[in-house]
């Protein structure tokens, strides 16, 4: 039904356009629309339910959302559709400019800041808030129930539901955290820290391990009280539970904060006849040998007194500087690592178990106690005033505002119950537990002026602004300095705001922007779940996965810290590597596990586009996918995501199914010959080809499937370019606006904790205009966001409870 109709429309449009072009130059917006658009989008045909002859581009009025959509379609050159006469670039630009000017003028006159619904602290924010409130580091994943996965950012109010299981876990966490923080005696528990099987332990495992060590791990562990703890090491076993590498003696060091606790020697003591190598489990050796192979690591345990607080527990082997005789063998990976006992190979650590405290001591001096106990009562009479001081100080920080007497009294009631049951500390613990259970802590509820009517925009109070800022930049509660400025009412003044933003960005808590914003914006979470095909990539190990993640984190972190222009995310000529990643990137002369900055002159690496993390997260386990990469580029960097694929799309045929090997490019031709695929794939695939020189793990390659890589690519607007260098150049020059706009929109969405909508786009453009003189540097963009209407303003709640929808189709996660 639809297709003939559309063709008719196009034909009509062409005729109309030809007729009018002779009499008028397409300069006025009205004329351009009439020339190129109205042929289909008119009151009679209403293609796409749009009649452009009925609305006036000079007066956007109440149709501003519609005009934003039109502007977006023009930006991405989606309209007019391919095959129809299209305006030249100047005409496109002039039409877009006039529409946006009208929209921006209207937004300035009558701002529509939107409204952020009540936020619940998410798991990350909760853990950070506990860290900043109580100097206590907790693992939110252990304490807080699984969050329902949403689209876009995990701090979007709309996905922060309050299910019974979640609420229960917050209440339960309050009990655990208050006990840990006050440091009363703790239940003895054993915490296990495991090293994945695919982590290779042949080298020094990171900066915090001693020189001359090999493998193992460092556990940063919070010892809740002064007491006796056990530290036990379990070594790797193969599938039948035979220990690996027990043929010869090896030495294992156990350290606490770098100091040697004990050195063990293990291996080489199996008695009697061994099973034939690599047949253990299938063929039995002598009983003594069999027993040894199962139990040799039983005694790798120490029992030590430890002072409360966070300490590094490290386990590592002493590196043996010997070269194996004979022909150098490839490293054993995959199946061999799981099934072979590798008798004369090197043993590896499987897990470290930390247990305790076993004598129930009480913490005397810990960072948490120093933070909590701002006073110590000398007499019984001094207790109440001191408790009040402690709890009201904590409540002000936790509730992120001055607290009322009634609120303090509530906490004091819990203090008194605890005091009656036990001692002063127990009283404080009970008060703290109540505080951490409070809706005032767990929810971000903003105050509204009562004098204005429903649905009216207003400037958020400086106290709420402080919370917005701290959750934006730190994913945590405001510190005293920020809160003080807010209470004084000076935070809204431009100079103070700018100074606070600069200070907050310099603070190391701003690493939350890397861990939360950047990781989600770049969709790097997927890297965790990638399982590369062992046949295609026998070299892959967990060390490489870790290095990939670390590179991107360090890179984005450096960009923020050095306050670089955001275009440098793409255009930078440097990145960070350690020896494992350098080997992957074929960079010579990089030794050791610490990451260092390296500069590139080859136009291959440097910036996000050459980073293995992204290239791997957008590939399949056994091959690259120009589709996934093209989609990622469109969505993440160009801000023009294609719609999700229709259901029941068949997989590509296995390569070689017809007896011949084909390049991915050839195989994807099907996408562009099938009309129902072509609409979207004509935009994704040609873009994704530009990264074909990187294999599915981001390693550089000249050929793929036996033929030289063809990395010629093109954009939906027809721009042609070649390879990653071409793509990089394009993004920082001719298409820099696309990138800056996309980046700004995503950062704004993260900052306000809701999806951006058409009404936010004037603010996005304003931020871009305001920051262009400063080369779009991080601090400039962040400050402009802080000043923008969506961030610094809100709207009083509508009279009816109407859900504030987010535009999910624009933020849908890519499905794999």
């Amino acid at each position: 039904m639809r297709r003939p109709f559309r063709w008719g429309c196009v034909a009509f449009s062409l005729l109309a356009a030809t007729a009018r072009a002779q009499v008028r130059q397409p300069a006025e917006p009205r004329a351009i629309l009439d020339t190129y658009c109205v042929g289909c989008h008119n009151a009679r045909l209403r293609v796409g339910n749009l009649a452009l002859d009925e609305i006036d581009p000079g007066r956007v009025g109440s149709a501003s959302d519609l005009w934003e959509k039109i502007a977006r379609k023009l930006h991405t050159r989606e309209m007019p559709p391919p095959g129809v006469r299209r305006p030249d670039d100047d005409t496109y630009r002039s039409l877009i400019a006039s529409i946006e000017t009208a929209l921006d003028a209207q937004a300035t006159a009558t701002p529509r800041p939107g409204r952020v619904p009540v936020h619940r602290l998410n798991r990350t924010e909760y853990a950070n808030a506990i860290r900043d409130l109580l100097a206590l580091e907790i693992d939110g994943r252990h304490l807080i129930a699984d969050e329902p996965g949403g689209h876009g950012f995990d701090n979007a109010a709309s996905v922060l539901t309050a299910s019974p299981a979640l609420i229960e876990s917050y209440l339960s966490a309050a009990a655990t955290v208050s006990r840990l923080a006050v440091g009363r005696s703790a239940v003895p528990v054993v915490d296990a820290f495991r090293i994945p099987t695919a982590t290779v332990q042949d080298e020094r495992a990171g900066d915090r391990q001693p020189f001359g060590s090999r493998g193992g791990m460092v556990v940063s562990y919070y010892f809740p009280v002064d007491g006796t703890y056990t530290i036990k090491v379990v070594l790797k076993r193969q599938l039948y539970r035979y220990l690996l590498g027990m043929g010869e003696p090896h030495q294992i060091d156990l350290r606490l904060d770098g100091a040697l606790l004990k050195r063990f020697t293990i291996g080489g003591e199996g008695r009697g006849m061994t099973a034939p190598e690599s047949f253990a489990g299938n063929t039995q050796g002598d009983p003594g040998w069999e027993a040894y192979m199962h139990t040799a690591d039983d005694g790798l345990e120490v029992r030590v007194p430890v002072k409360a607080g966070r300490r590094d527990v490290s386990v590592s082997f002493l590196r043996q500087h010997v070269e194996p005789e004979g022909v150098l063998q490839p490293p054993q990976r995959g199946f061999a690592r799981t099934t072979n006992e590798l008798y004369f190979d090197e043993p590896a650590v499987d897990r470290v178990l930390i247990g305790g405290p076993y004598d129930g001591s009480i913490a005397v001096d810990t960072p948490s106690r120093r933070r909590i106990f701002v006073c110590r009562p000398a007499t019984r009479a001094a207790e109440e005033p001191c408790a009040k001081r402690i709890l009201s100080t904590l409540a002000r920080r936790a509730y992120r505002r001055p607290v009322t007497d009634a609120e303090v009294q509530t906490l004091m009631t819990f203090y008194r119950t605890g005091r009656k049951e036990g001692d002063f500390d127990l009283g404080i613990e009970r008060g703290l537990r109540r505080l951490l259970s409070a809706p005032a802590f767990l929810f971000r509820v903003e105050r509204e002026p009562t004098s204005v009517s429903a649905g009216t925009p207003f400037a958020v109070s400086s106290i709420d602004l402080a919370s917005r800022l701290s959750f934006f930049l730190w994913s945590s509660i405001p510190d005293d300095e920020l809160l003080d400025a807010a209470v004084k009412g000076t935070l809204s003044t431009p100079a103070v705001l700018e100074r606070q933003v600069a200070r907050m960005l310099r603070d190391e808590r701003s690493s939350a922007l890397v861990d939360s914003f950047a990781v989600q914006w770049l969709q790097l979470g997927r890297l965790e779940g990638v399982v590369p095909d062992v046949d295609e990539f026998p070299d892959f190990d967990e060390n490489l996965r870790d290095a990939m993640q670390q590179e991107t984190r360090l890179f984005v972190g450096s960009q923020i810290r050095e306050n670089r222009p955001v275009l440098d995310l793409i255009g930078a000529d440097y990145s960070f590597v350690n020896d494992r990643l350098a080997r992957h990137y074929q960079i010579p002369d990089v030794y050791g596990s610490w990451f260092r900055r390296v500069y590139f002159k080859d136009d291959v690496r440097g910036g996000l586009l050459g980073q293995a993390s992204i290239l791997t997260a957008t590939s399949y386990p056994n091959r690259t996918s120009p589709v996934l990469r093209g989609r990622w580029l469109l969505e993440t960097l160009f801000g023009a995501p294609p719609p999700p694929p229709p259901p029941d799309v068949p997989q590509l045929k296995e390569n070689g199914a017809d007896g011949e090997r084909h390049s991915v490019r050839e195989r994807l031709e099907a996408h562009r010959t099938n009309p129902s695929c072509a609409g979207c794939h004509i935009r994704m695939d040609p873009l994704g080809f530009s990264l074909e020189n990187f294999d599915a793990l981001g390693k550089w390659r000249g050929t793929s499937d036996g033929v030289p890589v063809d990395a010629r690519a093109s954009l939906p607007d027809g721009s042609r370019f070649d390879g990653v260098a071409g793509l990089r150049k394009l993004l920082v020059s001719s298409h820099r606006e696309d990138f800056v706009r996309t980046f700004t929109e995503r950062l704004l969405s993260y900052a306000i904790g809701r999806g951006t909508e058409a009404s936010d786009l004037p603010a996005v453009r304003k931020i871009i205009r305001e920051t262009s003189a400063q080369d779009y540097r991080w601090s400039a963009i962040v400050t402009a966001i802080a000043r923008s209407a969506p961030f610094s303003m809100s709207t009083t709640a509508p009279a009816m409870a109407v859900a504030h929808g987010t535009d999910d189709t624009d933020h849908r996660e890519q499905t794999r």
């Binding site: 409204r115 019974p164 799981t338 259970s437 809706p439 929810f443 509820v445």
Partner: protein, 449 residues
């Protein structure tokens, strides 16, 4: 005993306390609970699976006689006290689909609840949703946890185990979707905390102390939230109402658990970690399973006594040999004896679970009356890794829908999937087919009628 008008009969009181022992954190709503009517609600139907690995010595397992008069074989001997509470189901088949060879172990565990043969791959996971998860989808709406996946061995889901197959296939039997294997948990401490929070113990004293605290926090928080929601606009109120609803839902769940009201609960202290002995470990996990059912924290539990392909040794019963290698016994009598010992030993663990469930009152009956339990493995004869006739026990009363005490021999190579379809029916989940099912089994042989 002095009985005043307002006093609660001691019996009721004890029931109340009994239930609260096992409740999660916010279990303190005694006034709300005692106000509840105590009419027996419709019993909750639980599902449980205990999975053993590496096949069996079938001649020691399978009774020769059929029907109610069958003889308990050496492997089944420990189940004698529960003879009327379970049936032996024979000649069910768990045969991989044609065209997908290899991976006897990976397929045994994967097919056991999904009836799907995974493709040979160390990276691409593709099975099907398992029947426990089909049930959990529905039952999970009413409980704190949709399901529990317990195990004795720890296992990551990365890497390759059975030749050519990802470890996920041998490490779990529960699949939330075709591509999502559910990791199992072998640390009772983690299970305890998932069920009971940070509560230290399930002893009455520990519980009572916490109840008082929990209740006061809960009351105070509800009051605060009410005040807050009165002060905000309508849009925000919706979110706070959602929050208040969540708290009330916790109360309701407590009330429901209260209706299960039972007196005796095994006292379980907050476990520190994984016990050293296999016996202790299995017992503790089973106790937690019973507690979870009893307090209605979950209705669906799978429990793997090993992971498929396992090489665990059993020196405690005189088998110091790794499990999998000796199951390829090559007809050596000494090895056959050892494998049979392992088989019988593991059945005693099932007997313990049945005993605990039978001893735990639940509404008008016991937890065992209100459960459907499967015991078995995806392979029959271990030497040949033969999936054509696998060992299966079906236990529990199935809320009046199952009767035990028989040995049922199905026609040769009746797909296990057919039994699955019939069991799903009993939970009100009606499907036309699952995996490679060819129909339903004749329900008359299972049902109580």
């Amino acid at each position: 005993m002095i009985v005043t008008k307002k006093a609660i009969p001691r019996r009721t009181m004890l029931r109340g306390l009994g239930a609260t022992l096992a409740l999660p954190l916010l279990d303190g709503m005694i006034p709300a609970l005692t106000a509840q009517s105590r009419t027996a609600a419709a019993p909750v139907h639980r599902f449980g699976v205990m999975y053993v690995v590496n096949g069996m010595i079938m001649q020691n397992w399978m009774p020769s006689a059929e029907g109610a008069g069958y003889e308990l074989t050496p492997t089944l001997a420990s189940l004698a006290p529960h003879r009327n509470r379970f049936s032996v189901l024979s000649q069910l088949a768990c045969v991989p689909s044609p065209g997908r060879p290899g991976g006897a172990h990976a397929k045994a565990s994967t097919r056991f609840l999904t009836d799907i043969s995974p493709p040979t791959s160390e990276t691409w996971l593709d099975a099907g949703i398992s029947i426990d998860q089909m049930l959990a989808n529905e039952a999970g709406k009413h409980t704190q946890l949709a399901s529990l996946e317990l195990a004795i061995e720890s296992g990551e889901t990365a890497g390759a185990c059975d030749v050519g197959f990802a470890c996920a296939y041998t490490n779990t039997i529960s699949w939330r979707s075709a591509n999502t294997p559910l990791p199992t948990e072998n640390d009772p401490r983690v299970i305890f905390e998932r069920l009971f929070g940070d509560s230290g113990s399930t002893t009455p004293q520990a519980r009572r102390a916490r109840i008082a605290q929990d209740r006061s926090v809960l009351d105070s928080v509800i009051a605060e939230a009410r005040g807050l929601s009165a002060s905000v606009g309508a849009g925000d109120r919706a979110k706070l109402v959602e929050y208040l609803d969540a708290i009330r839902d916790v109360e309701r769940r407590i009330a429901r658990a209260e209706e299960q009201g039972a007196r005796e609960l095994p006292v379980v202290d907050h476990p520190a970690g994984v016990p050293e002995s296999y016996d202790e470990h299995v017992k503790l996990m089973s106790d937690l399973q019973v507690l979870a059912y009893q307090a209605d924290l979950t209705r669906v539990v799978t429990f793997m006594l090993g992971r498929e392909f396992s090489g665990v040794t059993f020196p405690q019963i005189g088998v110091p040999d790794a499990h999998h290698p000796i199951t390829h016994h090559q007809q050596e009598p000494e090895k056959i004896v050892k494998v049979a010992k392992i088989n019988a030993y593991q059945v005693t663990k099932f007997a313990y679970l049945l005993e605990r469930l039978a001893a735990t009152p639940d509404g008008d009956g016991s937890l065992l009356d209100h459960s459907t339990l499967l015991y078995g493995t995806g392979m029959g004869d271990c030497n040949a890794h033969d999936p054509r006739s696998i060992p299966i026990l079906l236990a529990g009363g199935g809320v009046g829908q199952l009767r035990g005490g028989r040995h049922v021999r199905f026609p040769k190579e009746t797909p296990l999937a057919n039994l699955h379809l019939t069991l799903l029916d009993k939970f009100g989940v009606r499907l036309e087919r699952i995996g490679d099912s060819t129909g339903r089994i004749d329900d008359r042989v299972l049902s109580a009628i």
